[in-house]
Symmetry: C2
C-alpha cells in the first residue's frame, strides 16, 4: 500500500553503485540541456527567467519520490508554458507581481487537481482527449508559439492571444526591427536547425558512437547560448538595442505556500483543469513509450499523483506549471538513466546552476532563447497528420481541423474545449445509426446472415433484426424508428425477433425503447422476442419488469427462435432472392 503511493520505496531498495553512476552521468547531460530550456520556457510563459530554473528543481525531486516512470524528466514544457501564458494573461499584465502570483497559483491548483484525479483513479478522464484533438492542438500550439517568438528574433514589440493578433501586431511594428537582434536571432535559429538535422550524421561520420553523437547534438542550444552571450558581452550589443535576460536573482527560491485567494482560484480553475489534462496526456504518453522499451510498467493513476506533487512543489518554490517533457526524457533515457534518482541529481545540478551561473546569464540575448523555442516547437507541428487522418476517417479529420482552426483563431483554451466537445458529438453521431440487418437462415445450417448479402431462408410472418452495437441513448430511438418502419412496411409480420449477439450494454434509455417497442408492437398485433442476449445484459434486464411484460420469449440462440416460431406460425420457408449482385 505504502509502496503504491511511494514508488521510491521500490527502487531505493535495490539501489547500488552501478545504478548511481548511470544516473549521475544522465543527470549531468540533462542538466546542461535543461538550463537553456528552462529559461526559454519561462520567457514563453511571460515570466522572469529565474522562474524557469525554480520550476526545474523541486518538481524533479517530487517526481523522483512519487512518479512511477524510471526515466521521465519533468519540468517546464512548451505547450504547458503557452497555456500558462494564455490563462494568466487574461488576469494580469506580464511583468507584474500579480502575473507571477497567478502563475504560481495555477501550478498549485493544477497540482491539487492532478492529485485528486489520481486518488479518485480518474486517469481515465485523459481519454476524452482524442488523438486527433491532442495532435491538432499541439500542432496549432506549435504554430502560435513560433509566431509569438518572432518578435524576439526581430527585436520588435508585439502581443496577442491568437495567431492573427500576434502576426498583425508584429507586422504593425516591423519598423522597429533591430538589426543586431535580427542577426543573432536568425543565425541562432539557422545554427540550431543545422544542429538538429545535420550534426548527428556528421559526428557519426567522424567516427563518434551513435549515442554520444545524439547527446552532443542535443547540446547544441548550450553552445548557441554561450556564443551569443559572449558576443553580446564582448561587442556591447546591449547598448545597440539587443534585449538580454538581464539581472537574475542568484540563490535558491524561498519556500512558501501560495496564499488562498478564492476569486483568483475560481478564475483559474478551468485553465488549471485543461493544463492538468493536457500535461498528463503528454507526460503519460512519453513515460509509456520509454517504459515499454525496457518492459517496465508505469501506473497512470500514480503518475497523476507524481505530476500533481511536482506541480505543488513547483508552486511552493515559486515556479509555474510543469509536466513530463518529451525531448529531455528521451535524452535522459538515452544517456542511461536507470532510476528517478537521475531526476533528483538533475535537480541538484540546476540548483547549483541557479547559485553559480545566474550572473553569467545577464548578457544572454532573448533572441537566442526565442530561437531555441522556435526550433523545438516547429518539430511539434505535424500538418501531415491532417492528410493521414483525412484518409482514415472523415469525422476524426473534422475534429482535428476544428481544433487547429479554433486554437489558432480563438486561442488555446477554446480550441481544446471545442475539439473535445466535437469529437464526443461526432462519436455519438457515428454510433447513433448502428449497423443492423434483417437476417435469414443459411439453408441447412444453424447460421443466420444478412438477407441483402446472402441467399437465405426467411418467413413472411417472422422478421429477425440483428443489431451490431450496444444499445444506449444515442441510438435507442433509431432502433425504435427502424422497428416501427419495418413493421409498417410488412403487414404480414406476426413475430419480431431482435438478435443481440453484439449488444454489450443496454442503458435506461434503450430499456425504455425496448419497452416502448414491446407495447407498440403489441398494439399492432406483433409479438416481440429477443435472441442471443449476452449474460451481463440479461442480468441487468432481469432487474426490471421488462421480461415480465415481454409479449414473446428470450431465445438462447437464433436457431431456437427460428424453430419455435416456425412451428407456431406453420411457416413455409421461402428463399429470399435479394442476394447482392
Amino acid at each position: 500500500m505504502l509502496e503504491r503511493y511511494l514508488p521510491i520505496l521500490q527502487w531505493l531498495k535495490v539501489y547500488n553503485r552501478s545504478t548511481l553512476t548511470s544516473d549521475l552521468i544522465a543527470a549531468m547531460i540533462v542538466t546542461i540541456m535543461l538550463i537553456p530550456q528552462s529559461l526559454a520556457y519561462a520567457l514563453l510563459a511571460g515570466l522572469p527567467a529565474e522562474v524557469g530554473l525554480y520550476a526545474s528543481i523541486l518538481p524533479l525531486v517530487a517526481y523522483a519520490v512519487f512518479g512511477t516512470s524510471r526515466t521521465l524528466a519533468v519540468g517546464p514544457v512548451a505547450v504547458v508554458s503557452l497555456m500558462t501564458a494564455a490563462a494568466v494573461g487574461n488576469l494580469a499584465l506580464q511583468g507584474t507581481a500579480e502575473y507571477l502570483t497567478a502563475a504560481i497559483a495555477l501550478a498549485f491548483l493544477s497540482g491539487v487537481i492532478l492529485i485528486l484525479m489520481g486518488l479518485l483513479r480518474l486517469g481515465i478522464l485523459a481519454n476524452f482527449l482524442s488523438h486527433p484533438v491532442i495532435s491538432g492542438f499541439i500542432t496549432a500550439s506549435g504554430i502560435i508559439i513560433a509566431a509569438s517568438q518572432l518578435k524576439h528574433i526581430l527585436g520588435v514589440d508585439a502581443s496577442g492571444h491568437n495567431l492573427l493578433e500576434i502576426l498583425m501586431s508584429i507586422t504593425a511594428n516591423l519598423g522597429q526591427i533591430n538589426l543586431p537582434t535580427l542577426i543573432i536571432g536568425i543565425s541562432a535559429t539557422a545554427f540550431l536547425f543545422w544542429v538538429r538535422k545535420q550534426l548527428k550524421p556528421l559526428l557519426i561520420g567522424l567516427g563518434l558512437p551513435e549515442r554520444l553523437a545524439d547527446i552532443l547534438a542535443k547540446a547544441g542550444p548550450v553552445l548557441a547560448v554561450a556564443v551569443t552571450t559572449l558576443a553580446t558581452w564582448g561587442m556591447d550589443l546591449q547598448s545597440r538595442g539587443v534585449k538580454v535576460v538581464g539581472e537574475v536573482p542568484s540563490g535558491l527560491p524561498g519556500l512558501q505556500l501560495p496564499g488562498f485567494d478564492a476569486d483568483l482560484w475560481q478564475q483559474l480553475l478551468i485553465s488549471a483543469l485543461l493544463i492538468s489534462i493536457v500535461g498528463f496526456v503528454e507526460s503519460v504518453s512519453v513515460a509509456q513509450t520509454l517504459a515499454s522499451k525496457r518492459r517496465q510498467r508505469i501506473s497512470p493513476d500514480q503518475e497523476l499523483i507524481g505530476l500533481g506533487s511536482s506541480n505543488i512543489a513547483s508552486a511552493v518554490s515559486g515556479g509555474f506549471p510543469v509536466t513530463g517533457g518529451f525531448s529531455r526524457s528521451v535524452v535522459n533515457f538515452d544517456a542511461g538513466a536507470e532510476t528517478p534518482a537521475a531526476g533528483a541529481f538533475t535537480a541538484a545540478g540546476i540548483a547549483i546552476a541557479t547559485l553559480v551561473l545566474t550572473p553569467l546569464i545577464f548578457f544572454l540575448p532573448k533572441a537566442t532563447l526565442a530561437a531555441t523555442i522556435i526550433v523545438a516547437v516547429l518539430s511539434l507541428v505535424d500538418l501531415g497528420a491532417l492528410k493521414r487522418t483525412w484518409d482514415f476517417s472523415r469525422s476524426d479529420f473534422a475534429a482535428m481541423l476544428a481544433t487547429i482552426a479554433l486554437t489558432l483563431v480563438e486561442g488555446v483554451e477554446l480550441g481544446i474545449i471545442a475539439g473535445v466537445g466535437l469529437s464526443i458529438l461526432l462519436y455519438l453521431y457515428r454510433t447513433s445509426k448502428p449497423h443492423s440487418a434483417i437476417v435469414g437462415r443459411v439453408p441447412g445450417t444453424e447460421h443466420f446472415r444478412n438477407v441483402d448479402r446472402f441467399n437465405v431462408e426467411t418467413c413472411r410472418q417472422i422478421l429477425t433484426l440483428r443489431v451490431d452495437e450496444s444499445l444506449y441513448f444515442a441510438n435507442a430511438r433509431y432502433l425504435e424508428d427502424r422497428v416501427y418502419d419495418l413493421v409498417a412496411q410488412k403487414p404480414d409480420v406476426k413475430h419480431l425477433v431482435l438478435m443481440c449477439p453484439a449488444v454489450n450494454l443496454i442503458d435506461a434509455s434503450a430499456l425504455e425503447s425496448l419497452e416502448a417497442i414491446n407495447h407498440r408492437l403489441k398494439d399492432s398485433g406483433v409479438t416481440f422476442h429477443l435472441s442471443e442476449v449476452k449474460g451481463p445484459v440479461m442480468d441487468s434486464l432481469k432487474r426490471t419488469h421488462f421480461l415480465d411484460e415481454l409479449t414473446g420469449q428470450v431465445f438462447l440462440s437464433q436457431y431456437a427462435a427460428w424453430e419455435t416460431l416456425g412451428r407456431q406460425t406453420g411457416c413455409n420457408h421461402g428463399i429470399e432472392t435479394r442476394a447482392s449482385a
Copy 2:
C-alpha cells in the same frame, strides 16, 4: 418529393365524407378541452390569456399541412411554457410589451431551428437527450410548475426562478392569503383530482360506454371553469380580492412577421435550441405511440418541419412556443380523429371561441386555471422512476438525479444542459474500460474462451486478448495500458494476438494506440498480431500504413493464428487451470 415535404397531399387524396365526420367530432371534443388549457398555459408562461388562444389556431393549421402524424394535437404545453417563462423572464418583466415580443421571437427562432434541423435531417440530435435526463427533467419541471401555481391558489404575490426561490417567496407572503381565492383554488383542485381519478369509473358504473366516459372525464376542467366563473360573477368575488383573467381582446390576432433584433435573438438562441429539442422529443414520442397503435408511420425529420412551421405560425400570429401535447393528442385519437384535418377543424373551433367567448372569460378566476395546471402537471411527476432507474443502472440514476436536482435548484436550462453533459460523460466512462479477456482454446475444437472461466489450452509464448467493444478514443489508452501490463507481467511472451470479433469501429485515436502498441511491443521483442477483424474495420485499416508496419499478421480466424504461431514457436500447449470455482 413534394409529398415528402407536404404530407397533406397524401391524405387529402383519399379524404371522404366518413373521414370528415370522424374528424369533425374529434375536433369538437378537443376544442372544448383545449380552451381552458390554452388560457392556463399562457398564464404559466407569464403571458396574457389570449396569447394561449392565438397559439392554438394557426399552429394547428400549419401542422395539418406539414406534420406526418395523423392524430397529434399541437398547441401550448406545460413544460415548454415553463421553459418559455424561464427564457423570457431573464430578459424582460412579465406584463411588459418586451416580454411578449421576446416570447414571440422565441417561438419564431425555435421554428427556424426546428425547420433547419429537419432539412439537415438532424432529428438524431434529439437522441442526445437520454431517457433518464428527459424523465428527470419533466419530473422536476412538474414540481416547479406546481409550486409556481400555488400563489394563484393562495391569492398571494410570489416569484422566483427555482423551487427554493418560489417557495420562500410564497412563505414570505403567506400573510396576504385571500380566503375566497383559497376556497375557489382548493375546491377546483380537489374537484379536478376527483374527476381525474374517480369520474370515469363512476360513469362506466352508470352504464356509459368506456370511450364516452373517458372523454367526459377529460372535460372536467371546462365544468370547473364554468362554475367558478359563474360564482365569481354572481357573488362579485372580484371585489373581495379574487384575481380574474379580466379583459381579453376579442377578435383574431393580426398577422405580422416578428421584427429582426440581433441582440434579442442572440440572447434567446440557446433557450430556443433547448425548447426545440425538448419539445421535439416529447412530441415525437407521443406521435410514435399513437401511430403504432394503427400501424401508421411518422417521419421524425418531417416532424421537425411540421413542428417548426407550427412555431413560425404561432410567432406570426402573436403566439408563443408550441409542440405536440400528450393528453390532447390522446383525446383526439380516442375521439376518432383520422387525419390532421381534425387539427385544422380544432383551429377553427378555437378561432370561433376567440371571437365569441372572450367576454365570458372576464370573470374566470386565475385560481381555477392554476388548479387545472397543478392537476395536469402532477401527473408528469414520476419519482418512482428514480427507484426503477436505480435498480437498473447506477450511472443512469446519477444522470437522472443530477438533472432533477439541478433543475429544481438552478432552473430548467442549466438542469437540462448538465443532465445531457453528465449522461454523455457517464456513457464514455462506462465504455472507457471495455470488457476484455485472455482466451485459450477449448481442447479439440476451434473455439476460444476466457481462461478465467473455462478449462482451455494456452501457450506461454503466445498471448491472445479478446476485446468486446469498438475501439475509440475513450478506451484506446486503456487497451494500451492493458497490453503493456500483460506483457510486463509475462516475460516469456513472444506473440500477442488481439482478437477483434466484437470491434465494430476503430477511430484515429485507437489506430494511434494500435500503432503505439505495435512499436512498443517491437521494442520489447514481442510480435503483434490481429485476428477476426471485421470487414469494414479491415477496409479502414487498409487505408493507413498500419498493416505495412505491423510486426505480425492479420489472421482471418483465431484458430489460424493458434495453428500458425503454435508451429512457429514449437509451443507445448498446457491446460490453464484457472477455471472459475
